[in-house]
């Protein structure tokens, strides 16, 4: 995590009210991420301990993990977009001269945003289909479509992040990997 992240991990580059909203969203996403992982750990550990120590499995354990992994994935893709952490093969891109890189970055961010908005739309269609089917989770007795509600939100927020990245690259002089991360900024502590 780089130093800016250390100082203020949720700092927004947007002006005024938009900036406040943006940094609030960033906070919510990171809390959801951390809470999702911790709940998943507690749930999985409790299930193992229950099974071996008390001979009693948690009947809802698997379903809870299924809910959590969707939460983590779709809160995470947007957070990763904000932090410029999605995996990419940047070797050829890095070898290009700066003006070309800038152009490419606008193109990459715009196309990625478009894909994310499309998937947001498709996933709403999917949720409608699951909702009309009326299926419920066998153990928790919750409607199945509930667990997918994060999906369009996550895609939408990710799309938004990439749109902002494209705009930011058009209006500013430098090249940005994400709304928050300037290209070539060296991470001091490497995360695994």
């Amino acid at each position: 995590m780089d130093e800016t992240t250390e100082n203020n991990p949720h700092e927004s580059s947007l002006p005024g009210v938009l900036g406040v909203i943006d940094s609030a969203i960033s906070r919510v996403e990171s809390v959801l991420l951390a809470a999702g992982v911790l709940m998943m750990a507690v749930n999985t550990i409790a299930n193992v301990v229950g099974r071996y120590v008390f001979q009693y499995s948690l009947f809802f354990s698997e379903e809870l993990n299924r809910i959590l992994i969707i939460l983590i994935t779709f809160a995470g893709i947007s957070y990763a977009a904000r932090q410029g952490r999605h995996i990419r093969m940047s070797a050829i891109y890095d070898a290009l001269p700066p003006p070309a890189r800038k152009g490419f970055m606008v193109l990459i961010a715009a196309v990625t945003a478009l894909c994310m908005f499309a998937l947001c739309y498709f996933s709403i269609g999917y949720i409608n289909k699951v909702a009309t089917s009326g299926r419920v989770l066998p153990a928790l007795q919750l409607p199945v479509y509930w667990i997918f509600l994060w999906v369009p939100v996550g895609f939408f927020m990710t799309g938004l992040q990439y749109s902002l990245t494209a705009i930011k690259n058009i209006v500013s002089k430098d090249i940005y990997l994400s709304t928050r991360v300037l290209e070539g900024y060296d991470n001091d502590e490497q995360e695994i």
């Binding site: 951390a34 299924r66 932090q83 999605h86 995996i87 990459i108 498709f122 999917y126």
Partner: protein
């Protein structure tokens, strides 16, 4: 259709799009070819959701979390210290210790990058001071860290196991043999290197120092016992072993060593969540992609074009090896596994190959490819962590590539290297 999809995918990958995009766009184009309209696109989302659904995938975030806790704690330094006290004094001892510590930490964490950070970062300055050339040191760290791919737990193996419906437990156990063989050969090369270049040796540790180091490392040594012992003994599924590892790592670093405090938990969980999300969106996109190409019979078409049916089992293994090796020279291993495993699945079945053997060979190729220029992703990990230019990082890699290549060939002709332990445990 197949040609269009692959051209789109390769172009988008090479241009530097986030890796989920080539997979998603290729899937989208595949759907358009098949259905001709947007009416079926919710089915693409359904396939993505199905991709991240398998319960055994929960082992991935759990192992990442355990590794994340340990990398920030003391487990790695205690393991390094123990290995050093035993091997430091032989010729090339520091290099052999580095290789052994990478293997041991691989058995604890399952992540190549975590191994580079946790073992490579503290040991590189020591090796440089002892007189090893940086080109050798960097190449050794990258390649020895790749042993972590093969030694359980292995995230690549979990993903291979899930998408090919192969037992992850059996894959884990089968990875141990080739992993140790690599360690042995890397150690032999290290000794030869130190002898030729006349690198001075370290002072020999006394037995009381050794006893103390073993005592310090006893706690971290519990991880391989939980993972290998638990799975080998049929006590735990990989996901359960992962959960126990998280609990164990937590107890160790927070309660026993007290190297981390409660606010660290939040940061660690967030970082684990981020990595998990980045991997899982790829797994979901990969599942949708794999569904679309399987439905359109693309694998059969490609394999027939290569004429794979006349090659026999060894020929098929050779083709698989080359495909994964080349793939990983350019792209992240998980993406390569997600794209190529479904393509080769039909032929593996037709020729009657053991999917566990195929999995181990794939994992080995993934390890080699990731450390091979031009774009193996470990090279870039090393560049980022050690802040050395590309050319310095790749200079010493060739001898290691030769060793890895020799092991690949050996594995095709003597599958028992991998399957011996598996058969002992499960057959």
């Amino acid at each position: 259709m197949a040609t269009t999809i692959f051209i789109i995918m390769i172009v988008l990958l090479l241009l530097g799009f986030p890796m989920m995009i080539p997979l998603l766009v290729a899937t989208f184009v595949g759907f358009m070819f098949m259905f001709g309209n947007l009416g079926q696109m919710d089915f693409m989302v359904q396939q993505m959701m199905a991709g991240i659904r398998p319960a055994s995938l929960i082992a991935v975030p759990m192992f990442i979390l355990a590794a994340d806790i340990m990398t920030r704690g003391q487990s790695a330094s205690r393991l390094i210290d123990m290995v050093m006290r035993f091997m430091g004094h032989i010729k090339g001892g520091l290099a052999v210790s580095t290789a052994a510590a990478c293997t041991l930490f691989g058995a604890v964490s399952g992540s190549t990058q975590a191994t580079v950070v946790a073992v490579g970062s503290p040991l590189r300055p020591r090796m440089l001071k002892a007189g090893y050339k940086d080109s050798f040191v960097l190449a050794l760290i990258i390649n020895a860290s790749d042993i972590a791919f093969l030694i359980p737990p292995s995230i690549g193996m979990i993903i291979y196991g899930v998408i090919s419906s192969t037992s992850i437990s059996e894959l884990f156990i089968a990875g141990i043999g080739p992993g140790l063989l690599l360690l042995l050969l890397f150690s032999a090369y290290s000794v030869a290197y130190a002898t030729i270049n006349n690198v001075p040796t370290e002072p020999k540790a006394s037995w009381s120092e050794r006893a103390q180091a073993v005592k310090n490392a006893l706690w971290p040594l519990g991880f391989p016992v939980i993972i290998v012992g638990g799975i080998y003994g049929g006590i735990f599924s990989p996901t359960e072993a992962a959960a126990v590892c998280v609990l164990y790592a937590f107890v160790l670093e927070f309660l026993v060593f007290r190297s981390l405090n409660l606010p660290d938990i939040y940061r660690i969980a967030k970082s684990t969540g981020l990595i998990t999300a980045v991997v899982f969106i790829l797994v979901g996109a990969g599942a949708a992609f794999s569904w679309v190409i399987s439905f359109a019979q693309v694998p059969q078409a490609i394999l027939a074009a290569v004429g794979i049916s006349e090659m026999g089992p060894k020929g098929v293994l050779a083709v698989i090896s080359i495909a994964f090796f080349v793939g990983c020279m350019f792209v992240d291993p998980i993406v390569v596994i997600l794209i190529l495993v479904p393509i080769f699945a039909p032929v593996v079945e037709t020729v009657g190959l053991d999917p566990v053997l195929v999995g181990v060979i794939i994992t080995l190729q993934v390890a080699i490819g990731s450390a091979t220029p031009p774009f193996g992703c470990d090279i870039f990990t090393a560049i980022a962590i050690f802040k050395r230019p590309y050319i310095d990082v790749i200079r010493g890699i060739f001898p290691f590539t030769v060793i890895l290549f020799a092991v690949s060939v050996a594995l095709i002709f003597f599958p028992q290297i991998a399957l011996f332990l598996r058969d002992l445990a499960f057959r």
